[in-house]
Symmetry: C2
Subunit: 217 residues, 2 copies
């Protein structure tokens, strides 16, 4: 089993990334090469290659001769990351308004409608899942893998900080209403309106996160 064409270093990079994102390795903790090698049953060589790959994504911090630590995101950096993701998502929406195929536009419309039903049923879990699909549609719809991969990388990195954003009352309906503006602009082919609407939407999501974050620990 296990060998699907990927090299061990690649699988390690992905597994370590998962472990970091799901909290197994806490921010700031040292990623000892021997420890990782033992944990994943390999030698240090592929571990080192994986670490270098992860360092390039910003997930870990690789200090020469001093080892790797899980990147600790300060409050400031988190702000910067959220802003960056927002801008990228807005850009995706902008390009989607210009580049989406009729089929993609139709999919967007259908998803928006079905999410409306989820709002009516107040199904938070299903809405959260659909919300991911919603944003994914723009990643593919912008037809620019360079931008979409940047956005996906950021979204992935911010995932641990985005949980439970729809818990607050009325957030579901509000999110859906904001989506409607974005969808309308994209379907109308109005690039700048799509950009502005998506930016407003994700900024509000960020605000919701802020509220969460400022709850006394």
């Amino acid at each position: 089993m296990s060998d699907d064409g990927q090299t061990r270093a690649e699988k390690l990079a992905s597994e370590i990334a998962d472990a970091i994102l799901d909290g197994t390795f806490e921010p700031g903790s040292r990623l000892d090469e021997h420890m990782l090698a033992a944990r994943y049953g390999t030698s240090r060589t592929p571990v080192r290659e994986a670490l270098r790959q992860l360092a390039a994504t910003g997930l870990i911090d690789l200090r020469p001769r001093r080892g790797a630590i899980v990147a600790l995101v300060t409050s400031d950096q988190l702000e910067v990351l959220f802003v960056a993701m927002g801008e990228l998502e807005a850009t995706c929406a902008r390009l989607s308004a210009l580049s989406m195929t009729p089929i993609e536009r139709r999919r967007l419309e259908v998803l928006q409608d079905s999410m409306g039903e989820l709002v009516a049923q107040n199904d938070v879990a299903a809405y959260t899942a659909a919300n991911t699909s919603f944003h994914t549609l723009f990643y593919t719809g912008c037809h620019n893998p360079v931008i979409s991969e940047m956005a996906i990388g950021l979204r992935r990195r911010l995932a641990p900080f985005r949980q439970a954003q729809f818990r607050a009352v009325g957030r579901l309906a509000r999110s859906h209403a904001e989506h409607a503006v974005v969808v309308g602009a994209v379907l109308a082919g109005n690039a700048s309106a799509a950009h502005a609407a998506m930016l407003r939407h994700v900024s509000l999501v960020e605000d919701a996160f802020e509220e969460l974050r400022n709850v006394p620990a």
Copy 2:
């Protein structure tokens, strides 16, 4: 000499990147690990780590068990890269309009004026250099290292394809006029206008590149 706190793999990554960008290693050519190790006087281990780092930036293509090749950018990919860079630059301008400090705004103003003189003198070389400074001001001015690093990385990657864009007649004055619109919007704190103006500017630069590229080989 030689040891300035950097690890060999890091220096290798930077040296190989330079060699790729200056054309020493042509797109599509194989990057043999033994060859690289011999060329830079190390063993294969740091070479492999450097290659993994470069693969993360998209500069090389690392195919499992099949070695690394210098990423060959097709015409389509180049288009995608230019669009991505344009969008990021526009985003930088947008954020700059919101976040630049008075000092940064002043610097922008001063540079814009001095570039006007270069246009009058038709000093292409100096204008080209100043143009880099101009864009760099927005990278720092957006106050978002995540976005600016993405933009810088793209600009670096596209550098080999951007040469001589000011050769065409009248391009200098036109560039400066476009800059004026961007600067005006940023100084006025008009985010969406700054975004639109920068987007228009870089799109035109891209068009100039297109003209160059379509010259029969």
